[in-house]
Symmetry: C2
Amino acid sequence: MLYLVGVGPGPGYVTEAAAKALADADCVFYEDYTGPLHLETIRRYAKTEPIRLTRRDLEDESGRAILQCLEKGGRAVLATAGDPMLATAHAAVVAAARRRGHRVEVVPGVSIICAAMSAGCLSVYKLGGVATVTYPRGGVYSRRPYELAEQNIKRGMHTLLLLDVKEDGSFMPPRDAAAVLLELERLEGKGVFKPETPAVLVHRLGWGGGAKYTNLAQIAASDYEGPAVIIIPGVLGPVEEECLQTLR
Amino acid sequence: MLYLVGVGPGPGYVTEAAAKALADADCVFYEDYTGPLHLETIRRYAKTEPIRLTRRDLEDESGRAILQCLEKGGRAVLATAGDPMLATAHAAVVAAARRRGHRVEVVPGVSIICAAMSAGCLSVYKLGGVATVTYPRGGVYSRRPYELAEQNIKRGMHTLLLLDVKEDGSFMPPRDAAAVLLELERLEGKGVFKPETPAVLVHRLGWGGGAKYTNLAQIAASDYEGPAVIIIPGVLGPVEEECLQTLR
């Protein structure tokens, strides 16, 4: 039996169900490349030392170490920071386990997507979609954040942007993300990401950070650290507006 | 100090931070009209008997009982089933407390929005927006679910539909929601909600329910109980497709 366990976006977010899955597991694995994991929390509940898996271990090797544990009849946990299957990030592992006849259960965690919307005073009813701001690969930028924001702005909806993970496993700082968005504007030229475009920055949620109502130029000049989320608000309702004023 | 505490969509989802806020509170309030609350869990952590507030108490009276507790210098908790501020549902209470100089902190919980997407095998990257399916009010249907789904289908994105709460506080069963969607189709006639339209039904998540890959006609003929969420998938990726086949 494999449990995909979400332990939330920071210390203090482990649920009862996640704690129980950790405590009952014969093998505990974790990854910290999709979000920052609080390892001490996992250690507090697990009865064995947690084993770190890289993106390569999970994506290219389908989590071979996990399958070995399952094949011995063990209960295995793969712990991740957010909600484990929300971006279908661990689908290769799930598929490989199921193909070999193992049951898989997802223990949902507090997700940065939902938590960032609520920390940022923005109604989920107006969330128009999620994209990731990435560094250029081979000099080429992913234009998805631009396209999504353009569509959403027309519809009055909010755009939630996750930030890339760097090659060394560290998280893209918000200033780099704002620079990418302003570069996309230079390439596309439709006025979607201007320096004065309002933006809600949610940085290090659950790790002593918080939410800030600002604009892209200020984020580009800031020294906030990742992990972070940038939300480009659509048309604001009076309740959202009032709440955002407290985040200035 | 007022804590808005999300205790998640079912038993077992209380986080460490939520448990601590409940244990430290002088007054514990809860509402169960935005989602089904596991009262025993709250009782397990709270040192005082939790007090139920109605929608009227919170929206029309701005949570007067909560303000009274705060005014006496007490620490108050308002516990809700999902993530407390995600739909800015308790904004009136937050605003009233802040106007009187009280600090407000949100303790995010596992949200049904994110948990339903991941239980339903659907990538949050393709979530095109959230709407609620409501009973007609004075014979008039809200057309928002139809408009949103129509926009999302054009963009290949998923539409997440929450289900209404009835006058008596019970949750709309999925069959009623499917009937409303098919009635909207009769009114609008653009082919968005057909009987054979594929749909992912996530019912009683965390309360012994689960996710099912089906269609609107089958949901309309089903006897599943609420609370539930219906997701109309957009264009499916291969990973989503493979995972959905396990929910047939």
